[in-house]
């Protein structure tokens, strides 16, 4: 009989990534209302709008000081209610603003909502006073309640916005009810008694006038809150999709790093072992074997360079990577760094690199700008003839942004081939004859960096005479 293993059997179930498996419609539920920071912004906005109302009421109050104007307009002389209402609203507004500033400093999570609700209650109360004095049934002033109902639909959940609508209805009904009951004196702005006095507060008038207003408000609330909920749902879906895209970008970067390792590591091992053979660590080899090994080493080097350039090309296009590292940068220093990097290659090829560098700044991702400069500079050296000269200039560019020029006197590019040199893997036959190690990706990298940084590139070339790249950078964002 077989013995029972002492190690317990373990199991593991591969979890599916929820972001991949679920359709967008099943993504997290929409927020019921706007987030607190956005509500806080709107607290301040409401207060600004309220100053307009305060000013309008004060102006209306001032008009009361000139009875002839009111008579000319057919309005009744009004008492001091516009001033009083304006003053109350102004004082409340100062309080709301002070509270909002305190909230912004303290970062209280629920304060904005409390502030907004207080504003709404104060507004509705003030509006009810205005409605009473202007004419609750005789004028259309009661429809001013709709502003608050619609705005509540945008900022709050459906339940909360219904609360605002119900509160507006309650304030208005209380006003009309107290007028009908005779608790509040008959008011209204119209001077003509036939307009003001003819409307008796009979049950029918109240039902038709006030009731129809309430029905309109509730219908408006229903449509506005429904549409606002739909917009918020859409907003949440977009937010979730955006988060998944950001996560995918991060995963892509991680994958690129692993790819760099997994693809380059085997070449490193081959390269190292070829080196052992070529440098006599394993004894003397026949000439044919040495030639073959040199070819293997060369291909390894080219493939490793190609993998690196493919990764660079992919990485430039990662917006997450780009956005997080965008900054003002010293262009002169970047050119100087590229010159130092290319110097060993220049010495190997007996090319003299001359430079004239003035102070210049631009904005961008430092690594990417250096990548562009180093690619162009390496090309200038590689495609120069032995003993040739390369001239590099960096000028601040008098108001139009810095200009960098890289000029060689090398093999040049035939005019019909110039438009294609920035294509991926495109190499002119002349370039291949001159340098078999070219990957055809260097200028594609230059093009991508130029596109993402808005760098204008002009190429002037003549076959057999040389090539000049003129780069127009944007000014640093911080500079004038």
């Amino acid at each position: 009989m077989a013995s029972v293993s002492s190690t317990p059997r373990t199991s593991y179930e591969l979890p599916l990534s929820p972001g991949d498996a679920l359709p967008a419609s099943n993504m997290p539920h929409a927020r019921a209302s706007l987030p607190e920071p956005l509500l806080l912004q709107n607290v301040v906005w409401f207060c600004r709008v309220r100053w307009i109302v305060v000013a309008l009421l004060a102006l209306f109050g001032l008009m009361g000081l000139f009875p002839q104007i009111e008579r000319a307009l057919g309005l009744r002389e009004h008492l001091h209610w516009p001033f009083v209402t304006s003053a109350v609203l102004a004082l409340a507004n100062l309080g709301f603003l002070a509270h909002a500033r305190w909230l912004a400093k303290s970062g209280s999570p629920s304060g904005a909502r409390v502030n907004l609700w207080t504003q709404i209650v104060v507004d509705l109360a003030a509006l009810t006073v205005v409605v009473h004095y202007v004419g609750s049934l005789e004028t259309y002033i009661a429809f001013a309640y709709l502003f608050h109902i619609v705005l509540a639909c945008i900022f709050f959940s459906r339940l909360e916005s219904f609360g605002v609508a119900a509160m507006a209805c309650a304030f208005y009904l209380a006003c009309v009810g107290l007028e009908v009951a005779g608790v509040l004196p008959r008011a209204g702005l119209y001077a003509d008694p036939s307009l003001r006095g003819q409307i008796e507060r009979t049950p029918g008038v109240v039902l038709l006038s006030a009731g129809s207003a309430l029905v309109v408000w509730l219908v408006v609330w229903y449509f506005a809150s429904h549409l606002a909920t739909m917009v918020r749902e859409r907003d949440s879906q977009l937010d979730a999709t955006n988060r998944r895209l950001v996560e995918a970008q991060r995963e892509k970067s991680r994958h690129m790093l692993l790819t760099a390792h997994e693809l380059k590591a085997p070449f490193a091992a081959i390269h190292a072992n070829v080196h052992l053979l070529l440098h006599g660590h394993c004894g003397t080899l026949p000439t044919d074997a040495t030639d073959a090994l040199n070819r293997i080493a060369g291909r390894c080097r080219r493939l490793a360079a190609q993998i690196q350039e493919m990764l660079q090309l992919a990485n430039i296009e990662t917006p997450d990577e780009r956005n997080s590292r965008w900054a003002d940068l010293d262009l002169t220093e970047a050119v100087r760094w590229s010159l130092a990097e290319v110097q060993p290659l220049a010495e190997e090829r007996e090319v003299v690199v001359e430079h004239d560098l003035r102070s210049a700044r631009t904005s961008g991702v430092e690594d990417h700008v250096k990548m562009l400069l180093l690619n162009l500079l390496s090309n200038a050296v590689i495609y120069s003839n032995r003993g040739g000269r390369v001239h590099v200039r960096c000028l601040s560019g008098a108001g139009n942004g810095p200009i960098v020029t890289i000029e060689d006197h090398g093999i040049g590019i035939p005019p019909e081939k110039l438009p294609r040199i920035f294509e991926e893997y495109y190499r002119t036959a002349e370039a291949v004859r001159h340098n078999r190690e070219s990957t055809g990706l260097g200028l594609a990298i230059v093009r991508r960096v130029a596109e993402t940084h808005g760098i204008q590139i002009r190429v002037e070339s003549e076959a057999g005479v040389g090539t000049k790249f003129i780069l127009g950078f944007s000014s640093a964002e911080g500079s004038a």
Binding site: L257, A265, A269, H275, Q312, M371
Partner: protein, 142 residues
């Protein structure tokens, strides 16, 4: 002659490094896992460690071993570390010798794969020389 420990899961590469370093008259040992490398170092401290960054089970195991050596294990704290990386050290995803920071990444120098074996031998010699000079200075100071 120095005792050099190569910590790399790529045996083909490690063997090639070992060969040239042995030819340069150094004693060389190879470990393919960082945990076992730490055990080996605690048994016998090397004069220099050549350390890869990425290992099959942990893509930053090399960094972690370097930090462990510097922070958690006193007698390993001063051993020079030459870090190998397959990721380009200039841009855009990587780091360079300029990024060497004793707290974040406590290594002494970098070499980028594919490594030129002559460069490797020269770097190893330079690092060992630097350690020897520092040792002489501290002796003289006493």
């Amino acid at each position: 002659m120095a005792y050099i420990l190569i910590v790399d899961d790529d045996e083909d590469l490690a063997q090639a490094f070992a060969k040239v370093l042995k030819d340069a008259r150094h004693e060389v040992a190879i470990e393919g896992e960082t945990a076992r490398a730490l055990e080996r170092m605690n048994r016998k401290a090397p004069d220099l460690v050549i350390l890869d960054v990425m290992f099959p089970e942990n893509s930053s195991a090399g960094f972690e071993l370097a930090r462990d050596m510097r922070k958690g294990h006193g007698k390993l704290g001063d051993i020079p570390i030459l870090m190998l990386t397959a990721v380009n050290s200039k841009f855009p995803t990587g780091f360079s010798a300029r990024d060497i920071d004793a707290d974040w990444l406590p290594v002494t120098d970098f070499v980028e794969k594919p490594v030129d074996l002559d460069v490797l031998v020269n770097k190893v010699s330079a690092l060992l020389q630097r350690v020897a000079s520092a040792g002489d200075r501290s002796k003289n100071a006493k």
